[in-house]
Amino acid sequence: MTAAAAQLDAMVPCPGVVRQVAKDTPDTFTLTVSRENEREQNAFKPGQFSMLWMFGVGEVPISISGDPANCDQLTYTVRSVGKTTEALVSHKPGMSIGIRGPFGTGWPMEAARGREVVIVAGGIGLAPLRPAIYEVLNHRDLYGRLVLLYGARSPRELLYRKELAAWARQPNTQVLVTVDYGGLGWHGNVGVVTTLFKSAKLQPANSIAMICGPEIMMRFVTRQLGECGVTTESTYLSMERNMQCAVGFCGHCQYGPHFICKDGPVFPYAKIRPLLDKHEL
């Protein structure tokens, strides 16, 4: 197989070089990776993910968390929770990994144009939403008000703290952050992410909502959005299951009639609402 043919094969990893590993929180790191081939290969839609291969260890699906306008590199925010992710965040600059993708559907950025964009993130769920935030801020005139509601476990587990502060200073942008446990030295909100809705003052008739976080949190948030008047048709969720092939062959991530890797990970809430209510799915 030629190199060009290999690039087209979704099952063959392309070599990438780790350029930077930055620690975000005690167990979460952001890796910057450049591919050794064409720049165009780095193009992605906000919400998509890659399969990252640690040679001799394994492969994991990781959402792309960087700026979609920057095609020189790919950025991934990784929480170290298992053997493969531990290996991934232990990489030093200059080391190689394999990359497949980008895969999956993205956030509905076209549908969001001209509308109030409500982004609700929990924990590391902010990572797949960050490209959507960049997209809105890069094309500010195309979108309405940007509302970011972000909840994390504690202040030290907040991602992208400097960026949160910078985004809050942008025009027509509201950033509200809360933590479940405040601790010493924290003067911000304490409480779950749904408590932020009271201060958000949404314009539900013109809002489009994008949610990512633990599934329980997303269920609470969809209920709250409904109470605020945001329709299920204007609500989108990023789902997570055991993705392995990333192209809908293996069936590991089957979710009812859908494959999360191929038909998701971003789904309109209206499409998957009945599945979210099914136990043991």
Binding site: D27, R79, V81, G82, G122, G123, I124, G151, A152, R153, E157, T178, D180, G182, L184, W186, H187, G188, N189, V190, G191, V192, T194, T195, K198, S199, G213, P214, I216, M217, F220
Partner: protein
């Protein structure tokens, strides 16, 4: 200039409250300000007031020996602070600490309790509204206890 009646009427907590009750409520209301770091009330004190926060932020704290207070929740603009005034023993269970300069409408709970005893329709309106706040806080607390962001290895 906004009158107290107008501010109370427009507050989400009183949405839909009949005009016949507004005078009764307004008669128990006053404007209050708290400087940053002031304590609005403290655990164990008599609870005879509740507040509609108009500006600023308030931390609900619990005292722990030999350490700084633990913040269990924050109450912000548009929210209601305090429900211990409504039910015996009328004692605050937490400290309320203004973490920013805070403006609020204070409602005299003692005065309202008496009015609610005399006018059960008003009492029912208050109980319905506070029950909703209590339910919301209970759900939020359960959600908080789930610790959904913790790593699942």
């Amino acid at each position: 200039m906004e009158t107290l009646e107008r501010i109370i009427q427009e507050h989400p907590f009183f949405a839909g409250l009949g005009d016949e009750f507004m005078d009764l409520v307004s008669g128990c209301a006053s404007n209050v300000r708290f400087a940053k770091d002031a304590y609005i009330f403290r655990e164990g004190q008599a609870a005879n007031t509740f507040y509609l926060v108009r500006e600023g932020n308030v931390s609900l704290e619990i005292y722990a020996p030999q350490r700084k207070p633990i913040v269990v929740a924050t109450v912000g603009v548009g929210e209601v602070l305090g429900w211990s005034w409504l039910l015996p023993p009328y004692e605050w269970k937490f400290n309320a600490h203004a973490t920013a300069n805070t403006r609020a409408i204070a409602l005299d709970g003692k005065c309202l309790r008496e009015k609610c005893e005399k006018n059960h329709d008003l009492g029912y309106e208050f109980l319905k509204r506070f029950a909703q706040i209590v339910v919301n806080r209970l759900e939020a607390t359960r959600f908080q206890l789930l610790d959904v962001y913790s790593a699942q290895k």
